[in-house]
């Protein structure tokens, strides 16, 4: 999880010049976009891209190999030895579902990720509104507290939470996991949303006030709709973070193991066959890859959210 975990603690500050990633379109390019780049640039980049992609290709290929093949020869021999190619099979996938119950784990992952993603948005949006458009004593202090908490690792909270949940008797249930994610994700949610909202033109608020709208109405009718992009960015962050999380799931999910925990089980029993691990691994990646590819734009915008200024 360290990947997205790191990102969730990102108070991103970009220099003033780079107002937005899309701005390159309006700006004169340093290089003519139609001109060919030097050959060596393309070769070096192709090599880097290959190095980035080939490990995953190895996993994908192995997931279609038989157990004896997977442990007996490298996955790349599929491309050099025709016999290895013809033995490819879908059996690992059916087996990983029947033996490791990846289907059940998939459901658990969904049942954890959806509430953990959707519920905090509204809560954080209200807080973001208060921080951006309301004046009150202690505002700066609270905001700084939240910025500071972005850095605090969630490990600090595990033992006390385990005890609180234990007293309440909710350990090992799905809400125990998603409630935890809501709590841990809150500082980032408030931070990103507040940063975006404070860039919205203050005049809109003023004119709404003059028209007699209350804060509550302004929030619902004006600010929330205008903030859709940042809400989407946060949702994608949180979705990927929760989906890929291992630590909280290990500690709080009990028998309702999500995909990451099931995958770790497979990793721990490689004697039973590497090929199951690969099928499980690929299956675990599908949802985040789809989410990522289809919503990449918002994701990038989320990364640069701190820099979007009016």
């Amino acid at each position: 999880m360290s990947g997205t975990q790191a990102v969730t603690a990102t108070p991103v500050q970009l220099p003033k010049q780079s107002t937005a990633i899309g701005s390159r379109l309006s700006r004169k390019r340093k290089h003519d976009p139609t001109a060919k780049s030097p050959l060596w640039v393309r070769i070096v980049l192709a090599l880097i891209c290959a190095a980035w992609v080939i490990p995953t290709v190895g996993l994908a290929v192995t997931s279609f190999r038989t157990q004896d093949d997977a442990t007996g020869s490298g996955w790349w021999t599929v491309f050099t030895t025709p016999a290895n190619f013809t033995r490819l099979t879908f059996e690992n996938y059916s087996e990983v579902f029947s033996r490791a119950d990846m289907g059940g784990a998939f459901i658990n992952s969904l049942a954890i990720t959806i509430p953990a993603t959707v519920i905090p948005i509204l809560i954080a949006a209200f807080a973001g509104y208060a921080f951006s458009f309301m004046q009150f004593p202690g505002r700066d202090l609270l905001l700084i507290l939240i910025v500071g908490l972005l850095v605090v690792p969630s490990q600090v909270a595990l033992v006390p939470l385990l005890k609180i949940y234990g007293t309440l008797g909710i350990n090992g249930t799905l809400p125990a996991v998603w409630l935890t994610h809501i709590g841990f994700g809150m500082p980032l949610a408030v931070y990103i949303i507040r940063n975006y909202m404070s860039t919205l033109p203050k005049e809109i608020i003023e004119s709404a006030k003059i028209d007699g709208a209350s804060h509550f109405q302004t929030f619902w009718r004006l600010i929330l709709p205008m903030s859709t992009p940042v809400l989407a960015s946060f949702a994608i962050f949180q979705f990927l973070w929760v989906w890929n999380d291992l630590l909280n799931a290990l500690v709080f999910a009990g028998q309702n193991a999500p995909l990451t925990v099931s995958l770790v089980r497979l990793l721990g029993q490689q004697g039973q066959g590497w090929q199951l691990l690969t099928a499980g691994g690929l299956f675990t990646m599908i949802v985040p890859i789809i989410v990522f590819l289809s919503l990449q734009r918002y994701f990038v915008r989320g990364l640069t959210a701190g820099s979007v200024k009016g």
Binding site: M1, S2, G3, T4, A6, V7, V12, Q13, L14, Q17, S18, K28, K30, S37, R42, L45, I48, C49, W52, I54, P55, L59, S73, G74, I107, A111, I123, A124, F126, A127, Y129, A130, M134, F136, V147, L149, P153, Q155, V156, A157, V159, L161, L174, T180, I182, M186, V190, N244, L246, L263, L267, Q270, T278, G281, T284, P288, I289, F292, S307, K309
Partner: protein
């Protein structure tokens, strides 16, 4: 299926519940006389978020701090002995050393790779740039556990008498070397570096996206002027581009650094801290759940927090400077 249904009910209930709560809080505030209404309302809007933060982060942090001075079962206070015991143990010293190595190498490595890719990709045509960036960005989406599964097949080792199934050993033996057990050789901390490669693989895309945006933000006129003055590409990069994107470099560095300090899953999944690859977050988990030692576990987290204080201070100052510049 019932679970998904329950989850959807939780979502609808949660959102509806939140709306009702805010509506009621708002109504409550409106009952107050005007001056009080304006005073109270901001806090009411903040209340649920702050309650979540207080319950899930602030209270547990204090509790953990208290536990760090208590014994293994958390039943009696033992003063500083958790800290002194840990710091005196050779295993923990190794763990700290490894953590330090991660701190020194991983963020810097991520930046170098990210910067390299960002600079090169900037020279491609838009289509090629987008493809290259997407491919390199993708590992960030798949997460560390899946990444662990992927990299098992890179580092796998078989004895010399058998075929290699790990990519790295496939290449290595193909070049005539003897198979190397990459994750078990702790000489010069080779295995720790191998694990850092996985982090780098995941994080480089993140560095690339931010740095790429920053590089594109360097004013074209400045670059053109430098070219007219006869500066070489290398000089332009180091004397003009790097200073211009300094803030972003620092941001990326800090972010990856925070990620590194929290890194748990890569090491847990690949070696569980064995073969001298242990780092602080994994040691915490093992003290807590393998050795059942609350005191040590809490003390480790407190030390982690102490290490993070400079980062935290920097973060807050940075934020203040930004706000002042608004």
């Amino acid at each position: 299926m019932i679970k998904v249904l329950n989850a959807l009910i939780a979502v609808l209930g949660g959102v509806a519940g939140a709306i009702v709560v805010y509506y009621l809080l708002n109504k409550l505030a409106e009952l107050l006389p005007g001056r009080w209404e304006d005073r109270i309302k901001p806090y009411l809007y903040l209340l649920p978020a702050l309650a979540a933060i207080g319950l899930y982060l602030i209270y547990p942090t204090i509790q953990t701090f208290v536990y760090s001075f208590a014994n293994a079962q958390g039943t009696a206070f033992v003063g500083f002995s958790n800290f002194t015991d840990l710091l005196a143990s050779k295993n923990f010293q190794n763990t700290l050393f490894n953590t330090l190595l991660w701190i020194l190498v991983a963020p810097a490595g991520t930046i170098v790779i990210g910067l390299l890719i960002a600079t090169l990709a900037d020279r491609l045509r838009p289509g090629g740039e987008k493809l290259a960036k997407t491919l390199i960005f993708l590992p960030l989406a798949i997460g560390a556990v899946s990444a662990g599964a992927v990299w098992k097949f890179v580092y796998a080792t078989n004895p010399p008498t058998q075929n290699q199934i790990g990519l790295l050993n496939g290449i290595w033996t193909g070049l005539g070397g003897d198979p190397v057990n990459w994750l078990q050789i702790s000489t010069f901390r080779l295995n720790s570096f191998m694990l850092m490669v996985i982090l780098l693989w995941i994080q480089a895309g993140f560095a690339m996206v931010l740095l790429s945006a920053a590089i594109k933000g360097v004013p074209t006129e400045t670059l053109e002027a430098a070219r007219l003055d006869g500066a070489g590409e290398g000089a332009i990069f180091f004397r003009i581009v790097i200073p211009q994107i300094r803030t972003t470099l620092i941001t990326v560095f800090i972010t990856v650094l925070i990620g590194v300090l929290k890194t748990f899953d890569i090491v847990y999944v690949m070696t569980n801290g064995n073969f001298n690859t242990n780092i602080i977050a994994v040691d915490f988990f093992n003290q807590l759940f393998t050795n059942n030692n609350f005191g040590y576990a809490a003390a480790i987290v407190v030390m982690l927090l102490i290490v993070m204080i400079p980062v935290l201070v920097f973060q807050v100052r940075q934020f203040r400077a930004e706000e002042a510049a608004r």
